[in-house]
Amino acid sequence: MAAKRVIPCLDVKDGRVVKGIKFQNLRDMGHPAELACRYDLEGADEVVFLDISATDEKRATQEAWVREVAHALSIPFTVGGGVSSVEGIRRLLRAGADKVGINTAAVNNPRLIAEAADVFGRQCVVVAIDAARDPKLGWRVFVNGGKKPTDLDAVAWMDQVAELGAGEILLTSIDRDGTLEGFDLELLQKAGRLSIPVIASGGAGTEMHFLEALQHGADAVLAATLFHEGTLPIPKLKTFLASQGVSVRR
């Protein structure tokens, strides 16, 4: 049976890793390949990179660091952030990314999901969804880095992207992101009935939070701060999950 995955997320700006807390107070943390390798050796199952560079600055640096990461890493990695076309996806896959995350562009043009899945196979298409609780919709989808609300019901949108050909959903709770108060378990429960894997993101603060997320339908758990700060080392988290009967790779 597939192991539950533990995934650190690195924010990259202009070819350097930065750490974002609620998308603010950026600080430089080093080279993507260097930091990702630290996680590779620690036993991370994958790495997700979110490139938050402005679009025009991006091209020059992005291919270079993605290629370096592909060369250095012995585990899979996903690159997302500002990807908006089949051509953009092709560029990242050619540079060595295993999967590409699309978010705002998928909302603006849902056909992109189907096109990408047709051309590259659905296994490399990760649709990232930023969702916040909403009195009317239950959960509302936000785009542009979680800043701009849309009319989309997040649960309905998850169904739609799975139907269109997404291979995986990276589901971030905007309400919980950076709070360390735990994942939005109700949202995960809604996602857990999908036929494609779901990565839970936003809110992890303790090892118990990860366990809860995996018990509420997540196939993988993602965090940034907790891992970057060394508050919860990945080997310690995996030992805990295994002790609770979760199947993890060790």
Binding site: A2, H71, S74, P76
Partner: protein, 210 residues
Amino acid sequence: MITLIDYGAGNLHSLEGALDRLGFPHTRAERPSEAAPSGALVLPGVGHFHAAQMALQSRGWWRDMPQMVADGRPLLGICLGLQLLAEGSEESPKDSGLGLIPGIARRLGPGVKVPLMGWAQVQQQSSHPALPDPKGGWLYFVHSYALETDVETIYTAFHGRTFSAVKARGRVLGFQPHPEKSGPFGLVLLQKTLNWMGETSIDFQEEACN
């Protein structure tokens, strides 16, 4: 010298990175005429069975690969590469595979999430001179279709049902998982396979990430 078959199916960087870390000399070839004069061929692959087959046909590989194997060249298929070496796939029922390894790739499931994207344990079904008993070691899989198990299955994995994780016939060997994406254990398997195929590493670096 290892020849990586480059038919535009995306990512060769990870594989090249793994071979560099293991110290194996390698080259890319878009066409059979560009292949190294001898040594192992590696057929990687992601994407759709039909698209990959068309690309291999247009670059002359589909025609030449069976002859190269008949001439004694070892061939390693990875992921979709393995499925292309088999007899066919439910993903594209009208196309046939190269038939160098028996079996037809059938869709995973029902009752499990497809594609399988992630780490699964492998067990030995039959012994093979290239590969150790994996004893439940973890490898990274990304696929929707898989070959059934039969007498040529070396390793099995389980996702809804038991399927072939490694199959071999003669000097043709295929991995359904990605050994180049499977941490230190995957690299060891890749190294042992290539050694068995007659390749020698010249500068083996024990640690990843250097």
